[in-house]
């Protein structure tokens, strides 16, 4: 019945992969300067003498494509883990406070340091916005993890994460109120999210860290399947729940924390794409769902950057966060409505 056959699933995987490749190529071609497919090919083969073309393709567009690809996979994979762990369809990569931790780090960096006269301290600047965002999200996650060690009930952790987030946004609000106009702008720009500010040097950090997070997400496929039935069942089927929970938390920080640090908070990809994977592949088995969610994440993120590129040709630079929200929110509303019909 209703169960799609293995052939249908394989076709879906092939179609999504093809879609991701097509969007990646489109992303390389589209921009304020048009580049042809032949030109991209010659640059990639190292057969061109045109230095400016090389700069555009290798230094500007290729990093953007790679960032979109890995950010999409990372956010979606961490969202899927959170939804299964918390058994809550509205859980996303940010439920543990990763996002607000990062924003606190950035707020302290951009808003508070000028106030305290530390803005020119060079040791601070070497961290950069990315560094402080990562430290902020890791710190909040460590806090949530240490609090959760004594907590049995997973929903209590969810509430702790949400309350911490609220407390932090209040703190960030105070900093925003007190900050100068100039520093406020720097903070707001970060909150809008961007995949094009990541440099090639930063890619060497982003990609390996995200890959480790994705590998951990694959390692917990079987634990996630067991956790579908709840922690008691998972435990009586032989799962070390505390260890699996820790791996899932670490994976989420590496994935969502790193992406947020580099690109700013990118909304709704991590929340919506696991649902699209579930709807299209019609399964709850993470052996299918995990790669499907990663692919959907990559496709959606690449789509959003291409959309940004297209708009940019008209001279309007949109923050990628606006597009991901417009794309993700209808999916969430559809899922919520569908769930309310079921009951």
């Amino acid at each position: 019945m209703n169960q799609p056959s293995n052939i249908a699933r394989s076709l879906l995987f092939v179609a999504l992969t093809a879609g991701a490749v097509a969007l990646a190529i489109a992303d390389l071609l589209i921009g304020t300067t048009s580049v042809s497919i032949g030109q991209v090919w010659s640059v990639l083969c190292g057969a061109t003498e045109d230095a400016s073309l090389e700069t555009i393709v290798l230094r500007m567009r290729l990093p953007k494509v790679l960032v979109a690809l890995f950010a999409g996979m990372a956010l979606s994979a961490s969202g899927l883990q959170m939804q299964t762990l918390f058994r809550n369809p509205l859980a996303g990569p940010y439920v543990l406070g990763v996002n607000s931790g990062a924003s606190l780090g950035v707020a302290l960096f951009t808003l508070a340091t000028p106030m305290m006269g530390l803005a020119s301290a060079s040791w601070l600047h070497s961290f950069g916005v990315t560094g402080v965002a990562w430290i902020g999200s890791a710190a909040i996650l460590l806090l949530v993890m240490s609090l959760s060690r004594r907590v049995r009930n997973i929903n209590t952790i969810l509430i702790i994460g949400m309350m911490l987030s609220s407390a932090i946004s209040a703190l960030v609000g105070i900093l925003q109120y007190m900050g100068t106009e100039e520093s406020l702008k720097a903070f707001v720009v970060w909150t809008m999210g961007s995949v094009s500010t990541v440099t090639i040097d930063e890619l060497w950090v982003l990609i390996p860290v995200v890959v480790v997070g994705l590998v951990l997400a694959i390692v917990v496929i079987k634990p996630l399947n067991m956790l579908l039935l709840g922690e008691s069942y998972a435990r009586t089927m032989g799962l070390n729940v505390a260890r699996s929970r820790a791996i899932i938390f670490i994976s989420t920080t590496l994935l969502a924390g790193t992406v947020t640090a580099f690109c700013g908070p990118i909304g709704f990809i991590g929340l919506a794409m696991p649902h699209l994977a579930r709807i299209t592949f019609r399964t709850a088995d993470h052996r299918v769902l995990m790669p499907a969610a990663m692919l959907w994440g990559a496709v959606s993120m690449l789509f959003c950057t291409v959309a940004c590129d297209v708009v940019a040709r008209q001279g309007v630079m949109l923050p990628v966060n606006t597009i991901t929200s417009l794309l993700g929110i209808p999916v969430i509303i559809y899922v919520v409505l569908r769930n309310s019909h079921r009951q």
Partner: protein
């Protein structure tokens, strides 16, 4: 098969069961009876290593559960609780297949033998026709049977069930307990279930474990009926137990 040696269980600082000793054997359906809040669930959780034991030992096939690895324990005891598993897009087949977890590799891949066991488990629980349905579309009775099929797929000597009949209508309660008895007798399993259904327990179970706070009394069903424990325990201002008719009646 399951041996309780002088165990004491507590909920917080309140002692529920003190110095309980009992042996539950394979091939036997054991009903766990007791008033609300007397520690039936706590006992079941302790045996399946979900909860702590204050004092004493619980032995499964001769080894203390504290010394067994989670995987070993999962191959010896399966657990079914009252929680309704309501997962979107999860088929009954896939749910039962998750029960193979203590035997499968790190990815949870199913071999041909695993698939045979999953299908046999679905058949034994009488839910093979539901295999392709998603669990969120099942009725409570169907769902409970699928969860039992999952426990069967775990291929354990013992199955513990915490109030498996609580959300079912009367015919379904009898059907489910008949299934449990058949599993105990035909599959030679030790099946221990807690329940508030006195009449079902007395008519179907081979033995009764009764929580008579703070003691645990385990007797064959016929002896339990005449022992006087049930009369005393289920006696209140308005109802009494009549050993001759095995029924609870209103006082007039």
């Amino acid at each position: 098969m399951i041996e309780l040696r002088d165990i004491t269980l507590a909920f917080g600082s309140r002692v529920l069961i003190a110095d309980a000793t009992a042996t539950f054997r394979r091939g036997e359906l054991v009903a766990l009876l007791g008033r609300n809040g007397t520690g039936k669930s706590t006992l079941l959780r302790a045996i399946s290593a979900l909860g702590a034991v204050q004092r004493g030992d619980i032995l499964v096939n001769g080894s203390p559960i504290g010394s067994m690895s989670p995987r070993e324990l999962a191959r010896s005891i399966a657990f079914v609780n009252t929680e309704r598993v309501d997962v979107e897009a999860l088929t009954a087949y896939d749910l039962v297949a998750i029960g193979r977890a203590p035997y499968t590799d790190w990815m949870g891949r199913l071999g041909a033998e695993d698939r045979d066991i999953v299908e046999r488990s679905l058949r034994l629980a009488g839910v093979e026709s539901l295999a392709c349905r998603t669990v969120d579309t099942l009725s409570d009775g169907e769902c409970q049977r699928v969860m039992i099929a999952r426990a069967l797929a775990q291929q354990t000597d013992a199955i513990l069930l915490d109030e498996p009949t609580s959300f079912l209508d009367l015919p379904n309660r009898y059907e489910l307990c008949t299934l449990l008895r058949d599993l105990a007798h035909r599959e030679n399993k030790c099946v221990l279930f807690s329940t508030h259904e006195l009449d079902i327990a007395l008519s179907l179970a081979d033995s009764i474990a009764l929580v008579d706070t703070p003691r645990l009394v385990h007797l064959p069903t016929a002896e339990m009926i005449t022992s006087g424990h049930i009369e005393r325990l289920f006696d209140s201002d308005h109802v009494k137990f009549d050993a001759a008719t095995r029924a609870i009646t209103l006082r007039r």
